[in-house]
């Protein structure tokens, strides 16, 4: 394979990743080719040494997925604790005052619980958007290069 063909494959494979990531990898590979060619290596040999673009993209995806861990430290749990307490009170009231059958009372409970769940979900989403996510490390301290 020629350098031009390989780099085209690489650019295509990197579509969809952050510009910063794409630019850096492409730049590293360009430099690697330049060095190898200057030392008399064939483009084909360099392509083989660099390895499969498909596998590189798979590895990048794995790293990317690891990075999407939610950053719980960004959540204001006090806010939810207070609301949860109030929701429990509302649920209690809904059951106590609820009209009619147990099923009707259950509806009241479901309504309150659903409202609470929606509030939490919205809060988490806003938190993620505002604070971003942090890189997650697996238990043994590595972050994806071990299986």
């Amino acid at each position: 394979m020629t350098k031009v063909e390989y780099m085209a494959q690489l650019r295509s494979g990197l579509c969809g990743f952050d510009k910063e990531v794409r630019d850096e990898i492409i730049s590293d590979y360009e430099e690697h080719f330049d060095e190898g060619i200057a030392l008399g290596k064939s483009e084909d040999e360099i392509c083989k040494e660099l390895g499969s673009v498909e596998e590189l993209v798979e590895e990048l995806k794995e790293i990317g997925n690891k990075k999407k861990a939610f950053d719980f430290s960004s959540i204001d749990f006090d806010k939810y604790t207070e609301k949860f307490a109030k929701t429990l009170g509302s649920i209690g009231a809904a059951v106590y005052r609820g009209a009619g059958t147990v099923a009707d009372k259950a509806d009241g409970v479901v309504q309150e619980a659903t409202a609470f769940a929606k509030m939490v979900a919205k809060g988490f989403e806003e938190s993620m958007a505002a604070h971003g996510t942090k890189e997650e490390k697996s238990e043994d301290g590595t972050d994806g290069t071990q299986e």
């Binding site: 850096e24 590979y29 430099e31 590895e59 990048l60 290069t145």
Partner: protein, 102 residues
């Protein structure tokens, strides 16, 4: 060579080479992939990740006949991390050797 063994050790190998001296990409990756069969692309990903984690920093340096080369340098945090990994590797290998009977 077994892929699983390699993947775990590569980061330590990269860090250890840099602990000796700053290296540029081609030189470093060639040396490691001559010692063990590994796709050079994987090494660049490791280097990038180490840089994102501030274990490694980079700088450009002109070479005599060609364009500037990107050099990798082990930061203080990287140096500490290398020592931790090396110690972990040592005890891991020793434990496995004990079990396997080497």
């Amino acid at each position: 060579m077994n892929t699983q063994f390699k993947k775990g050790a590569l980061e330590l190998c990269v860090l250890s080479k840099l602990a000796d001296s700053d290296r540029y990409g081609y030189d470093l990756t060639e040396e490691i992939s001559s010692d063990m069969t590994i796709a050079t692309g994987t090494l660049y990903l490791i280097l990038k990740r180490l840089k994102d984690e501030d274990r490694v920093s980079t700088y450009l340096q002109e070479s005599e006949n060609g364009p500037a080369r990107k050099y990798y340098h082990l930061t203080d945090s990287g140096r500490q991390y290398q020592e931790e990994l090396k110690a972990e590797w040592k005890s891991f290998v020793s434990a496995v050797n004990g079990i396997v009977g080497i």
